[in-house]
């Protein structure tokens, strides 16, 4: 009693047992000797070949929409920028152009490019967008602060190497020997082959060639090929061309994915308002589509319009109340707008849903602390430490513990916590800053100064080290340094009242001299 091998492979594929499926297909493919390329009308060989292609692709498939990283080269040689000085609220590049309603950096920490820290880590939230080459080069390369990636291929390369892992004895399809034109004639094979080349081999150029031939063969009537060409163009950095393809595809057939791709192109072209409009049109066509609403919320968040962003995240939750990103973002929003109790409820919800990681317990611990539930605080942090996967996470937990111990007045513990933070992550600017404040209180001026200088060189976008340095220098009478530091602090956070007062005071001093 046995199943037909092809049927068995097909069933494996449907149950996402790709490894078994691919092995079975390989056996099928070995059977007919000689013939390397499937060209007969219909053969088992052809079917098995196609199935194996699909199985290998699925093994490494990552949704292209979620992949986004911008390297230095793309940012600097960005020939698509339209206006150098954008009007307020129309660009993501200038952090200051919010409509208001954004929180001040005193309440919510910001990334290097001046955006508030988001509650959910996505690929694009990690990279800042430095405005000039000089800034990009000067940016300190630390583990956690926003760092421009040196090349676009950071993530793509890793995906491409999958082929080596899965097939130690040579790739399944030898791309250089492939006659793309022949495959383009056969739409049933070509689509699977394209996905294989694009996702598994990560060979965008060949994929584009194939897609171009295929769309020609389909007389430009197949929107799917247009989307694929657009994807290739996007990878190659030809955004205007990609936009054209996606638009043309949308004209033929409304699809959620196409809308998402097009919006991604607009974001890369720094046209958030166009992307917003596109999303809103998309919502008219597909009401209640979570990914579209979520896209709107993300854009508002990046544009510093936190209140609107929260509105849209709430809409997401109305459609899909298990959406982790929305819950996390609303939670962090509540936390930073001084409602730790409500934030606590959101995070607890995440915990109940089975999110079980260090970051969540970290957040829970902080919320508990600010909601004055001290008994839960320490045990949350204990769990966070237990769950920490790498040294950066451990450093985060220790930093927060230090923060808590400052809050309860145990300065000794705080001191040790911050020290432990630095042991785990030597680039932790915030810990340097806080340690410096503690040293300052102990009267170790020299050490405090050294620490503050470290902090400000590690994270020039934070105003706290600059301000503390200004205060310190002012106390010891080094007015000149104090003034410089105060000015830096003002640059980082123009609305900081204490800095302004200090500068005023210093100016009076200088006038008196």
């Amino acid at each position: 009693m046995g199943l037909e091998p092809l049927f068995q492979a097909w069933s494996y594929f449907r149950r996402r047992k790709f490894r078994e499926c691919s092995d079975l297909c390989s056996q099928l493919l070995e059977r007919p000797p000689g013939e390397q390329e499937p060209d007969a009308e219909y053969t088992v060989f052809q079917a098995a070949w196609s199935l194996k292609t699909r199985a290998l692709t699925e093994m490494v498939y990552v949704d292209e929409i979620d992949m986004d990283q911008e390297g230095i080269a793309e940012m600097i040689l960005d020939e698509n920028a339209i206006a150098q000085v954008a009007r307020p609220g129309t660009s993501l590049k200038l952090p200051g152009t919010s409509h208001g309603g954004g929180p001040s950096p005193a309440v919510r920490p910001v990334t290097q490019s001046g955006r508030p820290i988001t509650g959910f880590v996505r690929p694009s939230t990690q990279s800042g967008r430095p405005s000039t080459m000089e800034q990009a080069i000067k940016t300190p390369r630390t583990a956690l602060t926003a760092r421009p990636i040196t090349s676009a291929s950071g993530r793509y390369v890793r995906l491409g190497t999958a082929s080596m892992i899965t097939n130690p004895d040579g790739p399944f399809i030898n791309l250089s020997r492939l006659n793309l034109a022949k495959y383009a004639q056969k739409p049933k094979l070509a689509k699977a082959l394209f996905e294989y080349i694009f996702h598994h081999e990560d060979d965008v150029k060949n994929a584009l060639d194939l897609a171009a031939l295929a769309t020609e063969h389909a007389q430009f009537k197949d929107w799917w090929w247009k989307v694929q060409i657009g994807k290739c163009y996007y990878r190659l950095g030809l955004y205007r061309e990609a936009e054209k393809q996606f638009k043309s595809a949308l004209n033929q057939q409304d699809m959620v994915d196409t809308i998402l791709y097009l919006a991604k192109v607009y974001l890369r072209l720094d046209q958030p308002v166009t992307a917003l409009n596109l999303f809103k049109q998309g919502l008219d066509r597909f009401p209640g589509e979570v990914t579209l609403i979520c896209g709107i919320a993300r854009i508002y968040e990046e544009m510093n319009n936190i209140s609107l962003s929260a509105e849209y995240y709430k809409d997401v939750l109305k459609q899909d109340n298990t959406h982790v990103e929305a819950i996390a973002c609303i939670g962090s929003n509540h936390f930073y707008s001084d409602q730790p109790e409500i934030a606590l409820r959101f995070y607890r919800r995440l915990l109940q849903m089975g999110v079980y990681n260090c970051q969540l317990f970290n957040n829970l611990g902080l919320c508990c602390f600010y909601a004055q539930q001290y008994d839960m605080t320490l045990s949350s942090f204990e769990r966070a430490l237990f769950l920490a996967e790498n040294e950066e996470e451990t450093a985060d937990v220790w930093y927060n513990l230090g923060h808590v111990s400052v809050g309860i007045g145990d300065l000794n513990l705080a001191y040790q916590c911050f020290k432990l933070t630095l042991v785990n992550n030597n680039d932790y600017a915030e810990a340097y800053n806080n340690l410096a404040v503690l040293e300052m209180r102990k009267g170790h001026i020299e050490q405090a100064r050294a620490l503050l200088q470290t902090a400000s060189s590690l994270a020039p976008h934070m105003y706290e080290p600059h301000f503390n340095f200004a205060i310190l220098s002012e106390k010891v009478g080094d007015l000149q340094r104090s003034y410089t530091a105060a000015q830096k602090s003002e640059e980082a956070f123009p609305g900081h009242v204490d800095t302004q007062q200090l500068i005023k005071q210093l100016k009076q001093h200088f006038a008196m001299l």
Binding site: S11, V44, A47, K188, T322, Q352
Partner: protein, 706 residues
């Protein structure tokens, strides 16, 4: 991610190491009991056919022996089981079982016993068809609008649709452009078959069209006439969805609307009869199976979608209504009426977990594992705490972020400057215009008492002085070993240095137990270079622009004693005038007063005074220290030549400003260069080649400026 888990009503595990897939589960009142109670029919790839009628005493009970109505082993794998009106002459429900090469239709019947466990069930084969081709899946329905009976359509692995009008084989048709089979469904409203082809399109074929098309069996013979006959299988409508589908369902819960639901690999589609998208939803997980089950609200349809992360999501159109956790990844899901309980969710996993469950607010019992905590014993804790505090205190004293002052170093570096200049000058590339540039040899010795890893020695002297070799990469040092390096220092730039000191730094790693890589450490030492390196004795000159007089509290010393390397001893003890000629060309004269305790330094240039003054005071101090004379002091009583000094500072400032200006210019040009590069890039990327408009000239020009 869900808050709740599905409440287990009844569950069992089928067989051992059996495999199941999508078609293996069917729910129907197969024995025609008329009670409206569904039975669960499960077939496996190992050929077992089982029928269950679960009636647990209380929810969550395991399987009772009498729940299993029937278990038979068929000789071939069961690909799909369906229940319908498959036998002519009766409207009763019969069971169709699809094997690889056979279709069998059975009647299931039961005889009631006196007690419940006395009930007997058996199946009886009504008819069977042997298939020419390997079957893949099947669908059934009133094809062609027949009343009161169901016809069966089997899709083979190579793309042939085989129609069976109950006991007889009707016809077979090949689907055009076929590669791999997709899901197949029959829509009774439009009387058509809907499938998803390998071209990633939803395709609909009318039954009529299929029936009138050329017979598949004659295909080989009529290959040539196929195009002319006009009876090819023509597709009714096509919708390109751009992905493969897992399953298709066609539902019409009220008479007016019928919808085609397609579960793709990444999206979930609802189509109208004519193949337009009614709505779609992008799924952020990998779905495994689905079933649209009812319409709670007018105009909407509720759907169950299960996924590979063991979740069951319930959507009302596109809105998520409920999400629940399942104990396994289901390959098939159905909704059944069991034991007066309506809407029981029946799920089957590919390794044979069959579960009937209902939704409830049981929290998904996610238990965070306990952090290992010790029992609290306060005295012990206190003692341990104290001990730890002590450790910390010790540690902060001895090793901190800021370096400690080390008394006994593990590695020492000493530099020895040879008293004489090199016989043969080692100077290379010196810009000094003098005839001979002298050099002096420095011998650096490293003594190590521990193992020092990766030692690197760096020697630095103030520009314009230079060293022949300023970096040494050494091999790891063994304990109690020493290394000696030799290099020469000479004047490189054409100006006098501001000081004659140099230092050498040795950086190395010492490994500890915790840190095998080693802790970086540094040892350094300073050395002084002889004055002879940059100047040589010359004829003293009387006149000079700048003069400096230094008072001392001791009688003047003969230059022969303090400047032995500049004064020939033959000149006699009373030499009180000394001339220095710098390599760079300027001269300085040193005079000692015979009567008063004064020295005078004079030179044409202000900056040259410094080195000689410094040397003089240093040598005097050394001299008196040797004589154990402690109260020696040098003072300067005259007015400091501030004016000249300020002039120099002004000049220096100006130079700095200039440097800054040039740096700015450079960065400006660099920006311009990049801008031109960018424009060129756009030009080259354009499909229609535009003239460069002299951008290339501009580029070259800027490059030259840079």
């Amino acid at each position: 991610m869900s808050l709740f888990k599905a409440r287990d009503w009844w569950s069992t595990i089928l067989g051992e190491k059996e495999e199941f897939d999508q078609g293996c589960l069917c729910v129907a009142d197969v024995d025609n009991s008329g009670s409206g109670q569904d039975k669960i029919i499960v077939g496996s790839y190992m050929g077992y056919l089982r029928i269950f009628n679960p009636h647990p005493v209380k929810p969550g009970d395991g399987v009772q022996p009498e729940d299993l109505l029937l278990e038979v082993q068929l000789r071939e794998p069961v690909l799909q089981v369906e229940v319908g009106k498959f036998v002519s002459g009766t409207e009763g429900l019969h069971l169709a079982v699809l094997h690889c090469r056979k279709l069998c239709v059975y009647a299931v019947s039961g005889t009631l016993g006196n007690v419940e466990h006395g009930n007997q069930y058996q199946i009886k084969l009504i008819y069977e068809h042997n298939l020419q081709r390997t079957a893949c899946n099947m669908t059934y329905g009133p094809f062609g609008g027949v009343k009161g009976r169901d016809l069966i359509c089997i899709q083979s692995m190579d793309g042939m649709l085989m129609m069976f009008e109950q006991e007889s084989y009707a016809f077979g048709r090949f689907l055009p452009g076929f590669l791999l089979p997709g899901p197949l469904a029959y829509s009774s409203r439009t009387d058509s078959f809907i499938t998803v082809s390998s071209c990633r399109q939803v395709e609909s074929y009318k039954y009529q069209v299929l029936a009138f098309a050329t017979d598949a069996d004659e295909r080989q013979e009529t290959e040539q006439q196929k195009h002319s006959s006009g009876k090819r299988v023509v597709v009714d409508w096509v919708l390109n969805i751009g992905e493969q589908a897992l399953d298709i369902c066609i539902v019409s819960f009220n008479q007016t609307v019928s919808s085609v639901f397609v579960l793709g690999e990444r999206n979930f589609f609802c189509l109208k009869d004519n193949g337009q998208i009614r709505f779609m939803k992008k799924l952020d997980y990998s779905p495994s199976c689905f079933i649209p089950y009812c319409s709670v609200k007018e105009g909407t349809i509720n759907t169950l979608i299960a996924n590979h992360s063991k979740m069951l999501n319930i959507y009302q159109d596109v809105m998520l209504k409920w999400a629940t956790q399942l104990p396994h990844v289901p390959v098939a899901v159905k909704v059944a009426n069991l034991q007066d309980l309506k809407g029981v969710i029946v799920t089957l996993s590919d390794d044979g977990h069959l579960q009937c469950s209902y939704l409830g607010t049981d929290p998904s019992l996610f238990q965070a594992p306990r952090v290992d905590s010790r029992e609290i014993n306060y005295e012990e804790f206190d003692a341990e705490m104290k001990q730890l505090q002590k450790f910390i205190k010790e540690a902060t004293k001895t090793q901190d972020i800021l370096p400690k002052s080390e008394k006994d170093r593990d590695v020492t570096v000493t530099a020895e400057v040879s008293p004489d200049l090199d016989a043969e000058s080692q100077a290379i590339d010196s810009e000094v215009k003098a005839e001979a540039v002298p050099s002096v040899t420095i011998k650096i010795t490293i003594q190590s008492r521990v193992t020092a890893q990766k030692p690197i020695l760096a020697v630095c002297v103030q520009a314009p002085l230079a060293v022949t070799c300023d970096q040494f990469f050494l091999d790891d040092l063994e304990p109690d070993s020493s290394e000696t390096m030799v290099m020469s220092v000479f004047l490189k730039g054409n100006c006098s240095p501001s000081e004659l000191e140099g230092n050498c730094v040795l950086s190395y790693n010492t490994s500890t137990e915790l840190n095998p890589e080693g802790i970086p450490k540094v040892a350094q030492c300073n050395f002084r270079l002889p004055l002879r390196l940059i100047c040589f004795p010359a004829q003293p000159s009387k006149a000079a622009n700048h003069k400096l007089t230094i008072d001392t509290n001791k009688p003047p010393i003969s230059f022969v004693t303090i400047f032995p390397d500049f004064v020939e001893p033959s000149e006699g003890d009373q030499a009180n005038v000394l001339g220095f000629q710098f390599l760079t060309g300027s001269k300085t004269t040193l005079l000692a007063s015979k009567t008063s305790q004064r020295y005078r330094i004079q030179s044409d240039q202000l900056e040259d005074l410094w080195l000689i003054t410094k040397e003089l005071t240093l040598r005097l101090e050394e001299h008196f220290k040797k004589q154990n004379c402690k109260d020696f002091a040098c003072t300067f009583s005259g007015s400091i030549p501030l004016q000249e000094y300020f002039e120099l500072i002004d000049r220096h400032f100006e130079l700095r400003l200039n440097a800054e200006k040039f740096r700015e210019l450079l960065s400006e040009r660099a920006v311009q260069f990049r801008a031109i590069e960018r424009r060129l890039l756009t030009r080259f990327k354009d499909k229609t080649p535009a003239p460069l408009q002299h951008l290339d000239t501009l580029l070259e020009g800027t490059f030259r400026e840079v």
